[in-house]
Assembly symmetry: C2
Homo-oligomer: 203 residues x 2
């Protein structure tokens, strides 16, 4: 028996799977953005009615934030696995090629919902915009920390600037999301990845 709230043991059982529905919501937000997504878009895609949505997920804003969490926890996500590669160069390599593969994947909307979910947006979306900016900054911070470690471990020259390297990589990854929205193919993104790596210092 779990300690914190899980599926309740009494009452009418939920007729839909929350994770599946959340996945559908994620896809809509990803494709249309927060402002561009209406509750009808969501309930249509999720196959539920509004009261079910509100009971299960709170409101539109909270649903969005939960969808982002799901997005980042996906096993196909390339970011965290790339960080665990043995050298800074391999980290960058896996990050860039993983992004090329993932962002152009036609099994889901192109690009990255953390980047395009609420880039320019209404005041009503200010909270989710902030949340996305923080996610992006955290991602860069993680890369920076990883590169600091690489300097300590000697697989990056001591003269390397971990912060700038992380920001450079972040910039290219974010640009690749726009490219994917432009219709760029996986192969085209891989070529960009190759060029990006040419500026990346090796041990």
């Amino acid at each position: 028996m779990p300690v914190v709230s899980c599926a309740p043991t009494v009452g009418r059982p939920r007729a839909f799977d929350m994770d599946t529905a959340l996945g559908k919501a994620l896809e809509v937000f990803w494709r249309k953005g927060y402002d561009g997504t209406s509750l009808s878009d969501l309930t249509d895609a999720m196959g539920i009615n509004k009261p079910s949505l509100y009971a299960a997920f709170g409101n539109k804003e909270q649903l969005f934030l939960k969808a982002i969490e799901l997005y980042e926890s996906r096993p196909c996500s390339f970011f965290l696995p790339a960080l665990e590669k043995p050298t800074a160069y391999e980290v960058a390599e896996h990050m860039l090629f993983g992004a090329a593969m993932n962002m152009a994947d036609s099994n889901h909307p192109q690009g990255c919902v953390v980047i395009q979910g609420a880039l320019s947006c209404s005041e009503a979306a200010a909270t989710v915009k902030e949340a996305l900016i923080n996610r992006r900054l955290e991602g860069e911070q993680k890369m920076r920390n990883r590169f600091e470690r690489a300097k300590a471990e000697g697989d990056l020259p001591a003269t390397a600037d971990a912060e700038t390297l992380a920001r450079y990589l972040g910039t290219v990854l974010q640009g690749m999301a726009i490219q994917a929205n432009n219709g760029a193919s996986c192969e085209q993104l891989r070529q960009v990845a190759e060029m990006t790596l040419q500026a990346f210092p090796r041990a």
Copy 2:
């Protein structure tokens, strides 16, 4: 006397300056995106009433498209001047440093309206989204043509891939727009520009 429609000579004169009002509209679209901008946002910023807006600019969509034209025609715009530099490397250099300066400029919203005006959006914004994608692709095409010329003129090695160079540069520029939205400073963007140039072939 101009051939095509200019300011009419009869009737009550317009009480506001169209270019000034269009500039205000641009700023709102830039900050809030197409979906996130309401007509009230626009009329408030432009200092006019809705009927004046509709009479002068058509509707929300046409107003947006005209605002984008204004954006690209701005003298402070860095893109076209950069293309005219004598060598491919200098083109890239001016493009990147121009973008660093422009996108973090706090005299207007951060980033680039062509990128963030309608990235992920509702179906109602599909037309403007397409228009923006086309603008971005045209920009890359112009860079590609410039780099083809550079190969012919010998300031890029014959082995260079003009298309990939253009896409790489486009990717970084687009990424810089996201960085600016994240709050990156001009100096931080300049550091990214420096790294980007390290992957750029010289003659």
